[in-house]
């Protein structure tokens, strides 16, 4: 048990949005009572997986201090992130927490040379006293992602491939030697043949530089490949979380099972389970507004109680599952409602 504070401690965080006008409108709970944490002394790759509308993007904005939680707290290195008000405190924060965005062609302005952002970062974080020193730091950062300043010099985004831009984006994030990187769908817009180099890069960062990565994706295959732990999100809730091998090889929650089954495998002989027909929802709003378990409308194992109240978190083996199926015969991790 380490005595230093956790790197990141998300405690019962809820984010609600008001949609519609000042009068009337509805409450959209994008993130609902989410808790998880990352240790400081054990760098890891933690995946937040889910489909669109699951709340993962809202959660990532929250962790980057782009949004404030409606309820709950986010602690970074022991400090409540919402107390960061002054600009100097914000700069100290972002030196340690950096993002990598989804669309490589939007990450940098098409009218600026990509290296400009790297030099900006060095200058704003006061890491060099002159241009030559700054160039050295920028070059180091680029080399750690397999590029160099000479390759990238004077280039505009459209002159580089998606894979190269993503690498530059990671290099920029690495300049301040952060402890945590938030990568939001970093490879979904990158060509298939270039994808693995970015994914492998995250592993290298964890192993060689001790950087923890929160990897946000809907692609379970790459999540399996690089993560240590994974949390599956559905409509704002974390429905299952735990070590990635356990969650993805032996999924306990029916939604995780559905997700895993729906991932097409590049092996024609294994088509059977994917070929089973399923039902799709008509609109998403209906699921959000549902009382009780958000998956109840589509769950093959639904019970009456599922529609009455939110399911409790239950420990099943090494994973935590938010499902009534397991709440009778296994020990609970939190006080839950017993039917």
């Amino acid at each position: 048990m380490s005595t230093s504070p956790k790197l990141l401690d998300v405690q019962h965080v809820t984010v609600e949005f008001h949609i519609g006008g000042l009068l009337g409108g509805a409450l959209l709970t994008a993130v609902n009572d989410v808790s998880f944490s990352l240790e400081s002394d054990k760098p890891e790759i933690f995946t937040l997986a889910g489909e669109s509308g699951s709340g993962k993007t809202t959660l990532s904005r929250l962790l980057l201090r782009d949004l404030e939680p409606t309820k709950g707290k986010v602690l970074f290195e022991g400090r409540d992130v919402s107390t960061i008000r002054k600009r100097s405190e914000f700069i100290e924060f972002i030196k340690k927490v950096q993002p990598v965005f989804q669309n490589p062609f939007e990450t940098f302005s098409p009218l600026r040379r990509v290296e400009a952002y790297l030099f900006d970062t060095v200058k704003n974080f006061r890491m060099a006293s002159n241009r030559r020193e700054a160039a050295g730091i920028v070059d180091d950062a680029l080399r750690s992602v397999g590029l160099s300043l000479d390759e990238v010099r004077q280039r505009y985004p459209h002159e580089l491939s998606g894979g190269q831009i993503q690498r530059v984006s990671v290099a920029r994030a690495l300049i301040s030697q952060p402890k945590l990187i938030l990568a939001d769908e970093p490879v979904s817009m990158v060509d298939a043949s270039l994808r693995m180099e970015i994914v492998n890069l995250f592993q290298k960062l964890r192993d060689e530089r001790g950087v923890s990565v929160i990897y946000i994706t809907h692609d379970l295959a790459t999540a399996y490949y690089i993560s240590d732990r994974i949390a599956i999100m559905l409509r704002g809730y974390i429905v299952e979380s735990g070590p990635v091998e356990d969650v993805l090889e032996r999924p306990a929650h029916p939604y995780t099972q559905l997700l895993k089954e729906s991932v097409p495998e590049p092996t024609p002989s294994k088509r059977e389970s994917w070929a089973k027909h399923i039902e799709l929802g008509v609109t998403e709003i209906k699921e959000y507004g549902r009382i009780g378990c958000k998956f109840a409308g589509r769950c093959p194992k639904v019970m009456d109680i599922c529609r009455q109240a939110d399911p409790p978190d239950v420990q099943v083996g090494r994973q935590t599952v938010k499902c009534y199926l397991y709440s009778e015969h296994v020990e609970k991790t939190e006080a839950g409602t017993q039917p």
Binding site: M196, Y224, E265, T267, P268, L280, G281, V282, T283
Partner: protein, 330 residues
């Protein structure tokens, strides 16, 4: 009987502005055939030329795109068409929606956002077959929607009220109203979640199985091809590098690029290290000489840098364009 025969097609983009003229050789010598009652997959990354190929096949050849060489001929049984010579009027009247229809990545481009779905149906049907009996049209449309497993109330909704997956399925319903012989699906599920993707692809498969027409499915996702396509064709930098029935291409891929595409895909249950290719897809305005894949190929030989490998048949229905394979079969 071949539905579509593409022979030695070369289609380039020629732009000239402020003294800089560029020729992008997007499709550079492509030949393949499509048959009735099959799902034909086209795989390839961005800038491999597949989007240009589709434009030419569906007759959308507008400057700066120009078909320099080759032929694109359709045989619909009662009707033949030469895509490179056909008039826009003929395309509009006899081809689009009736014999060839299109499902694209963003369904919003076919669904009018300010009109109810049923109105879009009406617009499309009306341009081809004057609707004389409105009630009959509504009944037929409802039946069509139901047959595809969609609830009829989607007809009365506006597109933005439906989820992304539902919109895409409505777009597919639109594309199949006239039972076309060829449905071109261009990255139909790329932006969709994996569960929704499964539903949409199932729908495409069911339609194809019921009407026994041809579906040309273009996507960079090899896993989708593995589960949906009957035959797969791999494109790289404007050329075909391999083409074979799905089982064959996944079990015995012969071209190094295909091998990489398949082997680099991570799978749940497997934690072995996956490598990536060095380099990046080439610039089609200035492609590499010889085999366009040679700068990135792990098995590159001298010949590859200068001589363009021909697409040859190595087995029944299995074609490859690679000097390695040519050597082996000698």
């Amino acid at each position: 009987m071949t539905l579509l025969s593409v022979q030695n097609l070369h289609a380039y983009y020629k732009t000239e502005a402020y003294g800089i003229s560029r020729t992008v050789r997007a499709v550079d010598g492509v030949s393949f055939d499509l048959f009735p009652n099959e799902i034909y997959g086209v795989a390839g990354e961005s800038s491999c030329g597949k989007t240009t190929l589709i434009k030419v096949i569906s007759g959308s050849i507008r400057p700066p795109l120009k078909a320099i060489e080759g032929s694109v001929n359709y045989n619909f049984g009662d009707y033949q068409a030469d895509m490179l010579k056909i008039s826009q009027e003929e395309l509009r009247r006899n081809i689009r929606w009736k014999r060839i229809s299109y499902v694209m990545q963003g369904s919003m481009s076919v669904l009018n956002p300010v009109r109810k779905v049923i109105k879009t149906f009406q617009d499309i049907v009306d341009t081809h077959e004057r609707i004389t009996d409105k009630k009959e049209f509504l009944e037929k449309t409802r039946a069509h929607i139901n047959r595809l497993g969609l609830p009829t109330d989607v007809l009365n909704a506006y597109p933005h009220q439906l989820s992304g997956g539902m919109r895409q399925r409505v777009a597919i319903a639109l594309a199949t109203v006239f039972q076309p012989a060829l449905i071109i699906a261009d990255e139909p599920t790329t932006a969709l979640d994996v569960v929704v993707q499964r539903g949409v692809l199932h729908m495409i498969k069911d339609i194809q199985a019921a009407s026994k027409n041809t579906v040309l499915l273009v996507t960079h996702d090899m896993a989708v091809h593995a589960n949906v396509a009957d035959r797969v064709m791999i494109m790289y930098a404007g050329r075909i590098v391999e083409e074979a029935p799905t089982e064959v291409i996944f079990n015995t891929p012969l071209h190094p690029y295909t091998q990489h595409l398949i082997n680099s895909l991570p799978m749940i249950g497997e934690k072995s290290m996956k490598a990536s290719l060095k380099g990046s897809p080439p610039n089609l305005a200035d492609p590499p000489t010889g085999c366009r894949f040679h700068p990135r190929c792990p098995y590159v030989m001298d010949e590859c840098r200068t001589v363009v490998p021909e697409l040859v048949s190595v087995k029944e229905r299995h074609r490859v364009a690679c000097h390695l394979v040519k050597e082996a079969s000698l």
